[in-house]
């Protein structure tokens, strides 16, 4: 009985130590990456390429996600609010729900799936095919060349994507509201903007920037440390998406808490 308890405690201890070690490695990676973000050189060509990859090429998937989310949101809120005769709040709740919460979170998750996985696969392949070692031998810091452009592009482009998602999501709600639920077009638009505050949009954009950083960081970190050929790259890709998604949801709560009383 004592031996079983000891083994159980030892297993918990091993898991805890492994978790702490992984957290430490990620922290060191993040600190190193941030220090390179604020020191020259920055590669503008690579930064532009990543901004296009993260921002422009994510527009279709983000737009589709936003429009359907806005449409569903309008239907569900109508369904709920009609139970206590508050149908007039549909437009307001749709816009606040999208700008504060669903726009940034769903955009972050979609970009994590699309871009984070691609980053991990690309950097992971570069690691296992010695391309990252080759960068070093060619007097180029891999952090500056691979990680920094992705981190900056992620933190800059996610807010823009979320802004687009906000607009498209509200439009989706508007379409359902006016075409299906019978709202008057002008009054729906009035209700949308009447109670919308600057902080609703700003808090969403702050979240978006944090989520963009997380997506890029978790795309780069597992890829940079991948080992063992194709299997290692596959594992890095899975880790990138899963860890980015969990961190986005955790960060979402923390940032929401920060903005809660504002």
């Amino acid at each position: 009985m004592v031996a079983v308890s000891t083994n159980f405690l030892a297993a918990i201890g091993r898991i805890f130590l492994a978790f702490m070690a992984a957290t430490g490695r990620l922290s060191v990676f993040t600190a190193t990456a941030l220090s390179h973000c604020v020191t020259p050189p920055i590669f503008p060509r690579l930064l532009f390429r990543q901004m296009m990859s993260i921002g422009y090429y994510s527009l279709p998937v983000v737009g589709m996600t936003a429009v359907f989310t806005g449409m569903v949101l309008a239907l569900q809120i109508y369904s709920g609010s009609s139970r206590f005769n508050a149908e007039g709040a549909v437009a307001t709740i749709v816009v606040i729900g999208i700008t504060r919460e669903l726009g940034p979170v769903l955009t972050g998750l979609m970009v994590a799936g699309r871009v984070g996985a691609a980053m991990a696969a690309e950097i992971g392949t570069m690691r296992v095919t010695e391309q990252i070692d080759a960068l070093t031998t060619l007097s180029t810091n891999p952090f500056k060349y691979l990680v920094v452009p992705r981190l900056i592009a992620g933190a800059l482009m996610l807010p823009l994507l979320v802004l687009v998602a906000d607009i498209i999501g509200v439009m989706g709600g508007y379409l359902v509201g006016t075409e299906k639920l019978g709202f008057n077009s002008a009054s729906y638009i009035d209700n949308t903007f009447e109670f919308l505050e600057q902080i609703d949009v700003v808090s969403g954009l702050v979240k978006a920037s944090a989520f963009g950083f997380i997506v890029s960081l978790m795309g780069c970190y597992p890829g940079y440390h991948s080992r063992g050929g194709a299997q290692g790259v596959g594992a890095a890709t899975t880790n990138a998406v899963v860890s980015a998604s969990i961190l986005i949801l955790a960060a979402n709560y923390i940032i929401t808490e920060l903005f809660f009383d504002i």
Partner: protein
């Protein structure tokens, strides 16, 4: 393990382990100025790890590595970058950057490392590509469109593009047919002679070793167990070396093979 020439690279008592696995176990080796040293040895004996320790890609736990008399173990940041400018390297898999065109790969060290303009660097890259027998049209291709032999040539062009003082060749003929292997060997000899560079190569291809080496050293269990001029390798008097160069299954080097 020493050389007659002034030493370009000196490794002394270098130790490197990965967990419980000891890979380098007190390795000593020198590469002289303008000398071509080839380290031979079986898979997993520490050849690649040795190169990576010199380049700072791996950090030895113990020992000294000097480049031009300067200790590089523990060197970081700008100091490390300055030393790395002396090096060129041809990787086993060529390690070409997939996202760049062939000429951009060759010009990479000039553009990113030396700050040369893209136009000037392209000119140099095309010259180096011509030196290894690749035409201008190849420059616009992506690395994925090239055969293994052509990728090695591009890797060689990239390694010599910055005209480094020291060039490392990591199994330069692995994966190539014998004719293409010999072509690569000839290119290595020509390019190195033209540059006057010191080279350190690792291989288990004896034809390649005989062709490009001034001196051959054999690594076994993380140590250099024999080193001498290329012409003496057939009369080394070392049973390990004899077994390796003649490719015998029987001998002091025992492979861990499970037999039914």
């Amino acid at each position: 393990m020493s050389t007659q020439n002034p030493a370009k690279i000196v490794m002394r008592d270098v130790h490197k382990s990965f967990g419980p696995k000891v890979v380098l176990d007190g390795l000593d080796l020198e590469v002289g100025q303008g000398e071509s040293v080839v380290v031979i040895g079986g898979s997993g004996t520490g050849k690649s790890v040795m190169l990576k320790c010199v380049l700072g890609l791996l950090h030895p736990e113990q020992g000294s590595i000097k480049v031009d008399g300067e200790e590089v173990v523990g060197m970081r940041g700008k100091e490390r970058d300055r030393v790395l400018e002396k090096f060129g390297m041809l990787f086993q898999s060529a390690a070409l950057f997939d996202s760049l065109k062939v000429w951009e790969n060759v010009a990479f060290g000039l553009i990113q490392g030396r700050g040369m303009s893209r136009d000037d660097a392209k000119g140099v890259a095309l010259t180096k590509m011509a030196q290894v027998g690749l035409g201008e049209d190849v420059g616009e291709l992506s690395p994925a469109e090239l055969s293994g032999g052509m990728q090695k040539r591009v890797g060689l062009a990239r390694a010599i593009a910055t005209e480094p003082e020291i060039i490392f060749f990591d199994e330069p003929t692995t994966g190539l047919d014998p004719i293409m292997g010999d072509v690569i060997n000839d290119l290595i000899v020509d390019c190195v002679q033209e540059l006057g560079a010191s080279t350190l190569s690792i291989t288990h291809d004896m034809a390649s070793a005989r062709k490009i080496a001034d001196r051959i050293a054999m690594i076994y269990k993380g140590k250099i167990i024999w080193a001498g001029p290329t012409e003496e390798v057939d009369h080394s008097g070392n049973a390990h070396v004899d077994q390796f160069i003649f490719g015998r299954a029987e001998g002091p080097i025992q492979m861990e093979v499970l037999r039914p």
